[in-house]
Symmetry: C2
Subunit: 415 residues, 2 copies
């Protein structure tokens, strides 16, 4: 606990220093860190080798080992990511609103840094550099808690960043990594409310649930995406097949991939066999209701559980519905408020879907895979928010800031 107290106090001291940096000073430091990561690649690769060996010997899956592994190329991408963040415009200081009150008070609403941001993540070491870059650019100090499997990698990356900042005359405590891997420390970190302004979990559903249940710090939930595509009776099949294929298979393990398909019953028979053919080519396992299975004989039976599952795999659930309304109701019941699409040439149906679906991003005739900071034009993102407070959808730099009111008077008192 004392350890965390000290971490918190150092982060708070750093945040006041970071708030005073100019955009240019921040960008210079980001460039310097990018170069340092390249220059010290050897240290990171060595540390990563230790993590990798331990993980391999303890039987980690190939997919996770791949996420854990650092290479020269991946380090290059980390550095490039920081340079991209440096190139983005700085949201801090923006006057969001200004108004004069009848009593002569002048009120300015000004965008300011969040302060201290906590990030809890799993075994991808590149998140360490990413999260630092995004928080630093927005003038906040960050406290990181990475997965224990990547501990030495994260430590090496953090150390290089800290050394570079210190050499630039900036507080190294702009980034701190929690050096303990037991769960009690992580839980205590989630309650470091006195020092930490917001906590962002990045990872799977289990991690996010643990943070939501244990944190007393305000949390931004990110990431889980049980995304739906609804093929309306007036969909254009020429557009529909490529969109569904793209949303399901362009990248499998991501939160904006399509996990569940709804089809209007009137076109089930004509459309589904065509779609099934394309999905079979990509080796996608299909699970559907009775109507679906009549149209696609090799589809398995879908259960209630299937409709609520984010597979992150070559599996798709399918269901027929009788109307846009029914599609909307299904999505609002089983979805995770991330991204959903309607495919239709009927404008009224599209509007009904756009209005009714309670998700961060609602699409007409496009792939759900576009829910992404770069695709939206925001640049690098810290995650996709699936809650309704503060930020929804892709969270770029602006969403990592807050605001305060500056009120200037000349002696006003309240009547």
């Amino acid at each position: 606990m004392e350890y965390l107290e000290q971490l918190g106090q150092r982060a708070v001291a750093a945040k006041y220093e970071l708030q005073r940096l100019t955009t240019e000073e921040k960008n210079d430091a980001l460039e310097a860190v990018a170069s340092a990561l390249i220059d010290h690649a050897g240290r990171m690769l060595e540390a990563n080798g230790r993590d990798y060996e331990t993980a391999r010997q303890s039987g980690m899956s190939e997919a996770l080992l791949d996420r854990l592994k650092l290479t020269e190329e991946r380090i290059g991408a980390m550095a490039e990511g920081l340079r991209q963040i440096a190139a983005l415009s700085d949201p801090v200081g923006e006057v969001m609103d200004s108004f004069d009150r009848p009593n002569g008070l002048r009120i300015d609403k000004v965008r300011v840094p969040m302060g201290v941001i906590g990030i809890i993540y799993e075994a991808r070491p590149n998140v360490t550099a990413d999260a630092f870059g995004l928080c630093f650019k927005t003038g906040s100090a960050v406290i990181l808690k990475g997965g224990k499997d990547a501990f030495y990698s994260n430590e090496a990356i953090t150390q290089i960043i800290r050394e570079t900042l210190a050499a630039e005359g900036i507080s190294a405590d702009a980034v701190q990594l929690i050096a303990h891997n037991d769960r009690a420390v992580t839980t205590a970190f989630m309650q470091l409310k006195q020092y930490v302004d917001v906590l962002i979990p990045r990872g799977g559903a289990g991690l996010i649930r643990a943070v939501v249940e244990n944190s007393t710090i305000p949390v931004i939930e990110t990431g889980t995406g049980n995304c739906h595509i609804y093929v309306d009776e007036e969909a254009d099949p020429e557009k529909a097949v490529p969109i569904i294929l793209n949303a399901k298979t362009q990248r499998i393990g991501v939160c904006n991939a399509c996990e569940s398909l709804l089809v209007h019953e009137k076109i089930a028979e004509s459309f589904l066999p065509k779609l099934a053919e394309a999905l079979r080519e990509k080796h996608v396992e299909m699970r559907g209701d009775e109507t679906v299975r009549r149209a696609i004989p090799d589809a398995a039976a879908a259960t209630e559980e299937d409709y609520g599952t984010e597979y992150l795999d070559y599996i798709i659930s399918m269901k027929t519905v009788g109307s846009v309304k029914e599609a909307v109701e299904h999505i609002n019941r089983y979805g995770t408020k991330h991204s959903e699409a309607i495919l239709t040439e009927n404008r009224e149906h599209a509007e009904q879907f756009l209005q009714g679906v309670d998700s961060a991003c609602v699409y007409v005739n496009a792939s759900t895979r576009f829910t992404d900071g770069f695709e939206f034009g925001f640049g690098a993102e810290i995650g996709i928010s699936t809650q309704k407070l503060h930020a929804r959808g892709p969270m770029g730099l602006k969403e990592l800031t807050t605001y305060k009111y500056l009120i200037r008077g000349d002696g006003q008192i309240r009547q």
Copy 2:
């Protein structure tokens, strides 16, 4: 639990209905409810009489009894409050941003209702009508948990609102009151995450802490205000005395009242006796450090605890500091991130204070009492947020909404 599940499900069903109401339909319903409250004042007064008698017999303090009490006049004010909300402009549907992407996707960021809002409050029955009005106008359903001392009053008010809505052809479940008063139900309510999008506690520090610690629903913290005024060495004493008096004594029990005064050591001796005279006239008890006590002989000694206390009473803590920097550091350490003011004629000092203080509202030469929805021109407010996520400072109608992205394409897939 089953009871809360049902409440949640009914609120969700109502939220989809409310989202579809036009501004005019919402305003008409608010007007109808306002009239119904006046027409049925007798029912509320009778119910309030039961609450009041029970509370009086159980020894409730005069101040709390006064908060609990309903009168014809107070019911008139409740109705007037709803009419004011009807007169405010409707934030729902506002297009906050629109952009076209190079691939032809059109992205609109649109303001939408929050969905289901939970409000937990203490023994002021007028919050029942207020909270309903604000949530209803922004298209959200609300679930209320009021203090048990006001239960019959809250029940009568809720019942009248529900009857009026039903008569207007709108789902009565736009407002529901939790009918159980044991703590286990309240705690379970704080975890009704599946149905409730945001939870707002309105009340004292203890209530707010309990909600923050137990809720898995995103919380907006409101209300606690250990607000500071810093009298700079270059303050104009002619402005300073009236501002401090106003901020401390114009209304004692409110979150934007001044609780602690910082004075530059160079002017302590000349300024404090003058201020003390004015504070004595208002019967304000003064507690200060040694320098303060030399200037004000009848001031008591202030402890560390005093500097961290929101008195909500005729007491003020006082401390001398050597610089703006020291004042800022003291405030950031002991404050509650609510409202703070610097009194100075020196522009640089003012800017240093505005930038350095980490609070929702930072003032120059004005009373902290202006932190208020009406004073800011926002109209009725649900509270003053002291956290950094989503909303800071006075929360009006806009702050009770969220947004979603509507993305329109014609077959776009991700490369």
